[in-house]
């Protein structure tokens, strides 16, 4: 099927070249980082994780796009999703690859990355995250590829695939849960020390993943002969609505516990992101943007009239994606370190090379996504004709 990705219109090649160029710039910046060390980023002794780990955290969520179509289709026999399970799975694959790339980009000694495998440490959550992420990647490649190949030959998918498809559903839950555990089990970090971290990760993932999937489905319909289907998009819209509502609700629960109990180690972080602390407030405009965007998204999504309008639904999905990106792809990680464990406010902002490396990895993700989507859609078009 890979041959389908080797032929295409000028637009297709143009997109790939643009993405390759961004990857190239990111790659060059990574060479500088390789040479100089992670000191090239804005990270510091106090804020020791930054943009990279935040992107990783956010993209684990985006990978949820797959389970949100697989579950209704395979467990509830919801037929409208049959056409687009492959689109969900082919978002999950580049998302997880980006996650792994961001972790590698963040390592001080990337050549030693395999030490995690050579010295397996069962008490480390990072070890388990390595297992669940790679497992999820493998599952989605296997399932997506085989389902598509059978579809092309107009035969049902091989029988051995069924158990793997069912396995991929709880496995999807595990990637968000284990990633949340990286944060939620650390004794001295009040911002993260909350049992609702994993539910929050699940809720925001089930909003961000399908939101991106809706946008991609609309793009696919616009630029190709394959129509993912109005019903499928509307149902995804409802999923985003529920998940975003639950996600906002969970954040409100967090705010209640923190501000009503008024325990300083927990509250100071929230003071910092919403109002600034000791005269420092770099994250304040970001956090409030996220809040405003979340409210706006909920207004557009909860109202059936606006949600049923595909153009407005698309706008709502963009808003959901950015609101959650700010919250999870930046603030959640950075604010955990501010104030530091010694009560100091030392701010963080990413540097230019750090941002370019980040964009390079995103471009790599979209490069893989484009190729996978190209293959899937060519097959779909072939069947249709």
């Amino acid at each position: 099927m890979i041959e389908k990705a080797l032929v295409g219109s000028k637009k297709y090649w143009g997109l790939l070249i643009v993405l390759l160029a961004i990857m190239g710039v990111g790659g060059i910046c990574y060479l500088f980082q390789w040479n100089y060390g992670l000191g090239i980023t804005g990270m510091s002794r106090d804020v020791s994780w930054g943009l990279y780990i935040a992107q990783f955290t956010f993209l684990v969520g985006v990978a949820a796009s797959a389970v949100m179509v697989v579950l209704p289709y395979y467990l509830h026999n919801y037929k409208a999703f049959g056409r687009i399970t492959i689109l969900g799975e082919f978002v999950a694959v580049p998302s997880v690859i980006m996650c792994l790339a961001f972790i590698i980009a963040d390592l001080g000694q990337p050549t030693r990355a395999l030490n995690i495998v050579f010295h397996p440490t069962l008490n480390s959550i990072l070890f388990w995250d390595m297992i669940v992420l790679n497992g999820y990647l493998l599952l989605n490649i296997l399932i997506g590829w085989n389902v598509l190949a059978s579809e092309r030959k107009s035969v049902p998918p091989p029988r051995w695939l069924k158990p793997l498809i069912y396995l991929s559903i709880p496995w999807a839950v595990s990637i968000h849960t284990v990633t949340a555990f990286i944060y939620a089990g650390l004794p001295g970090r009040g911002f993260w020390l909350t049992a609702i971290m994993a539910p929050r990760f699940l809720a925001s993932a089930f909003a961000a993943g399908p939101a991106l999937l809706i946008l991609l489905a609309l793009v696919v319909r616009k630029f190709t002969k394959f129509d993912p289907g109005k019903d499928a998009i509307q149902t995804l819209g409802k999923i985003v609505t529920y998940a975003m509502s639950v996600s906002v609700f969970f954040v409100l629960l967090e705010l209640f516990t923190v501000f009503y109990s008024q325990i300083p180690e927990h509250m100071h972080h929230f003071d910092y992101i919403f109002a600034g602390l000791e005269g420092h407030g770099k994250l304040v405009p970001w956090m409030w943007s996220s809040v405003v965007l979340a409210v706006l998204a909920l207004i557009l999504l909860l109202n059936p009239a606006t949600r049923k309008n595909e153009n407005i639904l698309a706008i709502a999905c963009v808003i959901v994606f950015f609101s959650l990106w700010i919250e999870k792809g930046f603030v959640l990680v950075v604010a955990g370190f501010i104030p530091s464990s010694l009560g100091k406010v030392f701010e963080y902002s990413p540097t230019v090379p750090e941002i370019l490396i980040t964009l390079g990895i995103w471009a790599m993700g979209f490069f893989i996504l484009t190729i996978l989507y190209k293959m899937a859609i060519m097959v779909k078009e072939e069947i249709a004709s």
Partner: protein, 262 residues
């Protein structure tokens, strides 16, 4: 006893099985020994600890810090972002946030508190490390393997005391004007590479030679006492017995092994 060919193979096979099973048994028994040390009696009968007498500590004095950083080739990058430190002073309020209030007396308010790795009995950094690059020795020292560390910095997120530093850039290098980050290298201790985490090692390399930690040796006021808690007549036990001491963030259950006389 006569051993025929069949018996020999049986015994050999069992032996091989035993060797194969050893890592598994090691992993299982490790959990147990960690459990046993909860009660206090660490394996090997040694539990190293430090008592710092803040009443003796002189404001403005940095003898212990200088001695430590010289002995361990701790680089100075001249900026707070890339800072590496093993031992340093924090104001009382930052070191003991739970014990801070408006009327703190006894000269403690704002006063310097020498802080370092607490060599916790229950160290979160060891719990999170994905490669066992940071580990707890049987005598209680929490150590770093600079050659195994992948630089993921999970341990830095996990340490509630901010005791860990990362080499954001090459500590063996020099700045734009050619000044090396390590002012004068001590050939007796390894320098580190870019991209690994480091912290106080309780002077494990000096203990191996029968010396006390460099900070304790350098302190002219004798404010730092170091020794084995398992030894009933050791100086640390005596000092802990005759003085009221506190520890940093005891509520987190890390069981720090640096005690402070305030």
């Amino acid at each position: 006893m006569k051993i025929d060919r069949r018996d020999f193979l049986k015994i050999g096979g069992l032996g091989a099985l035993g060797i194969a099973a050893k890592p598994v048994i090691n992993v299982l028994s490790k959990g147990e020994s960690a459990e046993a040390s909860h009660g206090g009696g660490a394996v090997g009968g040694k539990r190293l600890a430090m008592v710092v007498d803040l009443k003796k500590c002189k404001e403005g004095c940095t003898d212990c810090i200088d001695a430590c950083h010289k002995a361990h080739n701790v680089p100075d990058f001249h900026n707070p972002k890339d800072e590496v430190k093993w031992l340093w002073n924090e104001p009382y309020e930052k070191a003991f946030p739970e014990q801070e209030h408006e009327w703190v007396g006894g000269g403690m308010k704002g006063g310097p508190v020498m802080v370092l790795c607490n060599h916790c009995d229950n160290p979160p950094c060891v719990r999170v490390c994905p490669t066992k690059a940071t580990f707890r020795r049987e005598d209680g020292i929490v150590m770093m393997d600079y050659h195994r560390c992948i630089g993921c910095r999970f341990c830095m997120a996990a340490c509630p005391y901010g005791s860990r530093s990362f080499n954001w850039r090459n500590p063996r290098g020099c700045d734009a004007s050619g000044n090396t980050f390590i002012e004068k290298q001590n050939p007796g201790f390894p320098t580190r590479t870019t991209g690994v985490v480091e912290k106080c090692n309780f002077c494990a390399e000096r203990l191996a030679k029968g010396l006390i930690p460099a900070c304790a040796e350098a302190c002219k006021e004798n404010a730092i006492v170091f020794g084995d808690l398992e030894e009933a007549d050791s100086e640390v036990r005596e000092v802990l017995h005759s003085n009221y001491t506190i520890r940093r963030k005891p509520g987190l259950g890390t069981r720090p092994q640096i005690y402070y006389i305030v």
